[in-house]
């Protein structure tokens, strides 16, 4: 190989390892040192060394182990340097060496990524930073990309991430699984952060952008695998797989295609199958939760399109159960939209009237659902509601779609 080809292949191997095991390596390094930021720094340093060494000496047999050894050495050096400031650092260095010896004996790197996720979604961490933190530490997503998706400047996002990691170290947030009695709530926080990465404001009628859909699915699958005794991670996998399966059919020539008009042959069959399978496995636990119910709603929609069974009242009932459990504005608005779909526009309007105006003022799906209900009843107020839904849309395709609906309502009225 030419020198360039060697460098190229070293880089390709480093990138492949980064994708597959970045989070696993950070988790391992952070679990013994208790410091996520130091773990990331050490790993970044190891990647730089890897590119030099692998290009010069050829690829190691076990690249992941090579990286771990290099990062570990760096972490121990760092801790030793700190040792002059206190004994704790010396203890950390020894812990890292002992843990390394244990793992070498077993010749495996344990998968501690779920614990890493528990730390990112710890109650002491500001909920707004949990998702960015998880994307960065568990997947190594670039802070710049995170900042762009979360409408923040790169420097502000970097600063918030640094502050969160400092808190993890300073507050000594333990790198441990939560106590059994805390597990449902703590796991719920993890899943909420993962779902937020998927696109918190996701809505079929809004057609929001989903820059981290793949990453969120990866994390949910990981949580489901590492917490096999819990049904909710499976529910979240199912929910997101159902939604993501429809992505190819949601746009046609740049225009937004609503659920009922989508070409079902363009739905991703593998993701649909994965969704149904995950939902089935979750249901076997007989412990329904928020994500399972939302996935069941998706499943009911899909059944209607695929098998021609009228499931619209089932959807309304599932929303009733969801709201009893998690009464969010989004769920209440979605229930109203389900009522419109079931031909119950007056019920939809009274449901929407029950939502406080201050909450509704900037909620795009509220005005889209309201407009549809009013248009169904031939009310002139539909025009105004469409205008507000259009004004609150973040997406050009959604704006065009709603403008068309508005035009149709004007002609009909």
């Amino acid at each position: 190989m030419t020198p360039n080809a060697v460098t190229e292949s070293a880089r390709a191997t480093a990138e492949a390892v980064a994708r597959d095991s970045y989070g696993r390596l950070v988790a391992w390094l952070a679990s013994v040192g208790g410091d996520v930021a130091a773990a990331e720094d050490a790993l970044a340093d190891a990647f730089v060394k890897a590119l030099e060494h692998w290009a010069r000496d050829g690829l190691p047999e076990a690249p992941e182990a090579w990286l771990l050894t290099a990062a570990r050495r760096r972490l121990i050096d760092g801790a030793r340097r700190e040792a002059t400031r206190g004994r704790a650092a010396e203890e950390i260095a020894r812990a890292i060496e002992e843990a390394a010896a244990d793992d070498d004996a077993r010749n495996t790197i344990p998968d501690d990524r779920l614990r890493l996720m528990f730390i990112c979604a710890h109650p002491a961490i500001d909920p707004a930073i949990r998702t960015p933190l998880m994307l960065q530490t568990a997947l190594g997503v670039d802070a710049k990309r995170i900042a762009a998706a979360f409408l923040a400047s790169p420097s502000a996002m970097a600063q918030r991430l640094v502050r969160a990691k400092r808190k993890i170290a300073d507050a000594r947030i333990p790198f441990a699984n939560p106590d059994p009695q805390d597990l449902p709530a703590r796991l719920g926080a993890v899943l909420d952060a993962v779902y937020a990465a998927f696109g918190a404001d996701f809505d079929d009628a809004g057609g929001a952008r989903q820059p981290f859909a793949e990453e969120a699915l990866f994390l949910a699958r990981l949580a489901a695998r590492l917490a096999p005794d819990e049904p909710e991670p499976l529910g979240l996998v199912a929910l997101m797989a159902f939604i993501h399966a429809r992505a190819p059919a949601r746009r046609a020539g740049g225009a937004y295609v609503p659920f009922d008009a989508q070409d079902t042959t363009r739905w991703d069959a593998d993701l649909m199958a994965e969704a149904e399978e995950a939902l089935g496995r979750a249901a076997a636990f007989q412990a329904p939760g928020r994500y399972q119910l939302e996935a069941a709603i998706q499943s009911a929609h899909v059944t209607r399109r695929m098998q021609g069974v009228d499931t619209r009242e089932d959807v309304v009932r599932l929303y009733d159960r969801l709201i009893a459990r998690a009464p969010s504005i989004g769920a209440r608005v979605a229930r109203a939209a389900a009522l419109v779909a079931a031909g119950r526009a007056p019920d939809a309007i009274s449901a929407l009237d029950g939502i406080p105006p201050s909450k509704a003022a900037t909620h795009q799906p509220y005005w889209a659902a309201r407009a549809e209900a009013e248009a169904m009843l031939g009310l002139a107020s539909a025009d105004d509601s469409y205008a507000r839904a259009i004004g609150l849309s973040t997406d050009e395709a959604a704006r065009r779609f709603l403008a068309r609906r508005r035009g149709a309502a004007r002609k009909g009225g």
């Binding site: 923040a152 900037t362 005005w367 205008a387 839904a389 259009i390 004004g391 050009e396 704006r399």
Partner: protein
């Protein structure tokens, strides 16, 4: 707290669109302004005439001079603005992301400096 949203876009591209497309974009801005007003966040907003209708004033050596302009090579020109009321920058950025001009152009969000 007030924020000024500067809307930059390609003015010539807009004016070369078919009438119904222009009407659609104007309609989207009306809807946006309505959503802002109803949420109690609207302070002011206007579209600007084409830059060629504009003048530039400079005071040089004590004598104000008016010239045609601005003539810039930039692809995007200032085409309109909104002044909005928002609790913080995050809320202002959220409104900016909903502005129809964000789709094809650029929006600059600037806090209004309060001189006490």
């Amino acid at each position: 707290m007030q924020y000024l949203l500067f809307l930059y876009g390609d003015e010539d591209a807009f004016h070369s669109l078919p009438d119904e497309e222009q009407a659609r974009i104007v309609g989207a801005h009306q809807a946006y302004a309505q959503a802002l007003s109803e949420a109690g966040s609207m302070v002011a907003g206007n579209a600007l005439a084409h830059p060629r209708e504009g003048k530039i004033v400079r005071d040089r050596l004590g004598a104000a001079q008016a010239e045609d302009g601005p003539f810039t090579d930039a692809k995007e020109q200032l085409g309109g603005y909104y002044i909005i009321e928002a609790d913080d920058l995050d809320e202002a950025l959220d409104w900016a992301s909903k502005c129809p001009a964000a789709e094809t152009g650029t929006i600059e969000v600037r806090p209004v400096w309060r001189i006490a």
